[in-house]
Symmetry: C2
Subunit: 475 residues, 2 copies
């Protein structure tokens, strides 16, 4: 018996390869080495460990150090200690080291990516953002580092109320703004409201499948409104049971037309007459190239329109910050839907964005991006004029994408031809609501996002695009 | 008629108080002033506006500028323009400026706040955090500013895998870590899994009502496990239909005891035998004062334990960052539950936290906070020894709170006495599961959070606490 633990102690001493460096380091090294020995099977379940005095002597360590290490491993369940039976390796061996999950073989990324929805990642204003973070965090009161107000930091709500009034014609106040984590986060909150849930929700017949899926999961039925050259046909709302409508008035997504003045007036009039609600998705309202931006519908009636914006296109989707300017009667319910505290939006980044806006850095960034994106749009239209003059690009007055109108029946083959060029883009029909009636004339098209591609690939991406387009009719 | 618009133009010119400064500035000022005039009722619905040439002459502006401003306001729905009838104010007047929502009169905040759950906000390492943000954002690849990987940035998952192994005895790999927005965000994701939904979920009979409410809303039934001096009684699991159990092994919340070695082994053994799952809430595992931290149960079987941690106690709840070290077979389902992209956790802060950990700043911060919190705990126990030696403080070896054990039947009166001192704290019974059987002996107590109070109020808060405690029995 004496022999057994002496051998064991020597074995342990040899096996453990202890690096001794300071008192805390020694104990940590010993516990780590013992854990590894148990995990690896070198110390089998039930194995009796040497008394701590012996192991201490063998390793040249203080007795207390070894006793503490034993106690720690007992507390963690690696060892058991019983009166009269000494310290042993616990019966239930921990499992073998975890295997890495089988990696699903990913398809190689496309050489060129003209899918819509993303800003130019290389243009994120890193230095200006960090400078704003430094100023914001230096100036922040201590309570900024406590649990957050679910409505959002007052500093950001103030900055947004001013910015949205100035740049987007939104009429609101800090008390009516709720911060959220991007447009989808805001829509998810709104979809919990009775005002939204009590009836079907009208949406544009063209839109993001991702948003429709979100509403589906929330248990909301969506009714498609047809979209034409004047935007969504809001005159059709009165004939439906809908009481809420989700629109992209500044730049219909993805067709790119602005909602016409008559239809803006009509949708507000409808909302007033039925006690309804307009959800305004202002996803890229900052980016209009040939004239001033079109102001938000919200300005026509702040009590009937909930305005949603985010930093995802204007700065980066990496931030996960969005905002809503709400009718006064909805503020309480939306804040309550977030729970007692802010569940997701970092207060530190809320403060940083507030400082970024107030310092003028946000306007500077947007001005620079407007120029950059306008140049890219011009490159796209120039390439089309040269190589595919029969293909019209629509929705190009604003935003980060265009729709290329194709001859009827050519959309799928053009998408396949693009894939053959290792060019990713989305066919227009992917955005059509499944319940939308078939359009009178076929709407073949490609949605081309021109903002995100890295600079060094953009020209080649446009060339690949032109190669993928169908030839002129009659060719 | 001619007269009318001349007067109108002059009136407009007088009313608008245009500040002319540059071309863009002029048009923006004009559209803003016209919008305000319509909003304020100075231009009533149907009012005909002067032809743009006249207004331009009257205001000394370029004709194009005024024409563009009219067109913009027509596009926004403020004005209408019809052939032959000129430009008029739209019929549907925008509503009056929005009133601020009625502020609900808030109760005055307590003078002293010893509620549990929050770290010391004044200790957030602002400068070190901004320095880490600067290094992280400077070094980040461009793709960091694109749509995020729902599993989380690989830089953070690598940093966490190393940190958790070293500091918490967690056995994992970057592939098995999923980033989320705090513990609640992680629990919400896990509550969508079939593995969790298929059967009732066992919880500790003492715990956060907030977590139980989250599980309730997710449609999960919770079964309380009794809690005693060795932690939750995991030996009772086998008699239930539960297949998942949520535990706080390092420091039972709120009673403060660590889960005993036998029960650690028993819960892993149970999970193996029934194909079950242990959810390990390691909310304050970093803070242990009198010896080394107790390692995570997850280390005993990474395939049966999902480990959850967050920055909410260790750094600040303002960050909204948490993490899960998952069994390999759950990674795919949890990532899928987040959707195609990261819905909430900022990639920029993920990168910053990764750099904060890798640079050693996180360990330095935790060491400093451990000392600060230990001193506060010692102040609490010293105050009790002096003023209320009959009241035992339990659960004080770790964490940010203690439980003061009170004579039976005195909890409510002590809470009221505290409120009378303008001292906020939580009675122990507030944390009891509503379906838990009544304990054999009454468990009267107060949960005292000693970490968050500002330094200048802490001594006074302790004095108020001691005044609120019941007198010794027999007094």
């Amino acid at each position: 018996m004496t022999d057994s633990w002496v051998n064991s102690a020597e074995g342990l001493g040899r096996d453990l390869h202890l690096e001794v460096s300071g008192q805390g380091g020694r104990r940590a090294a010993l516990t780590g080495a013992l854990r590894e020995a148990v995990r690896g099977g070198r110390l089998a379940p039930g194995t009796r460990l040497p008394p701590y005095r012996s192991l201490a002597a063998d390793l040249g360590m203080a007795r207390n150090t070894v006793a503490d290490a034993y106690a720690e491993l007992v507390a963690e369940g690696w060892l058991t200690a019983r009166q009269g039976s000494g310290t042993r390796v616990a019966d239930r061996t921990p499992s073998a080291p975890p295997p890495a999950p089988a990696a699903t073989p990913a398809a190689p990324p496309p050489a060129y990516d003209l899918r819509q929805g993303q800003p130019h990642t290389g243009s994120f204003p890193r230095a200006a953002w960090v400078a704003a973070a430094r100023r914001a965090l230096t100036a922040a009161p201590n309570d900024a580092f406590g649990p957050g107000d679910p409505q959002g930091r007052i500093e950001l709500r103030r900055a947004l109320a001013g910015y949205l009034a100035r740049a987007r014609g939104v009429r609101t106040s800090p008390e009516r703004i709720v911060v959220c984590s991007g447009f989808a986060g805001g829509l998810r909150l709104l979809s919990t409201l009775h005002a939204v849930r009590r009836a079907p929700l009208a949406v544009e017949s063209y839109g993001l499948p991702f948003h429709r899926a979100l509403l589906d999961r929330a248990g909301l039925r969506t009714l498609p409104l047809s979209v034409d050259a004047r935007g969504a046909d809001t005159s059709g709302l009165a004939a439906t049971r809908a009481r809420t409508v989700l629109l992209t008035p500044a730049h219909q997504f993805p067709t790119g037309v602005p909602l016409s003045p008559e239809r803006r007036a009509a949708v507000v009039s409808w909302a007033r007459s039925v006690g309804g609600l307009v959800l305004e998705d202002d996803y890229d309202g900052e980016f209009r190239y040939d004239r001033q931006p079109i102001g938000a519908v919200q300005g026509l009636d702040p009590e009937r329109v909930a305005y949603l914006g985010s930093a995802s296109k204007s700065l980066t989707p990496a931030l996960r910050l969005g905002w809503m300017a709400l009718p006064a009667h909805l503020v309480g319910a939306v804040v309550a839907a977030k729970g007692e505290r802010e569940p997701t939006a970092s207060a530190l980044e809320q403060l940083t964005l507030a400082e970024f806006i107030e310092s003028g850095a946000y306007d500077r960034h947007l001005r620079g991006m407007r120029q950059r994106y306008r140049r890219r749009r011009d490159q796209l239209t120039a390439a089309l004029a040269l190589h595919a003059p029969h293909v019209a690009a629509t929705g190009i007055a604003a935003g980060l994408h265009a729709v290329l109108r194709l001859p009827p029946g050519t959309e799928r083959s053009a998408t396949r031809a693009a894939a053959f060029q290792s060019l990713a883009l989305d066919p227009l029909s992917d955005f059509l609501h499944p319940a939308a009636p078939a359009p009178a004339t076929p709407q073949d098209g490609l949605v081309v996002g021109y903002a995100a591609a890295p600079d060094h690939t953009f020209t080649a991406a446009l060339e690949a695009l032109c190669r993928a387009l169908p030839p002129p009719p009659g060719d």
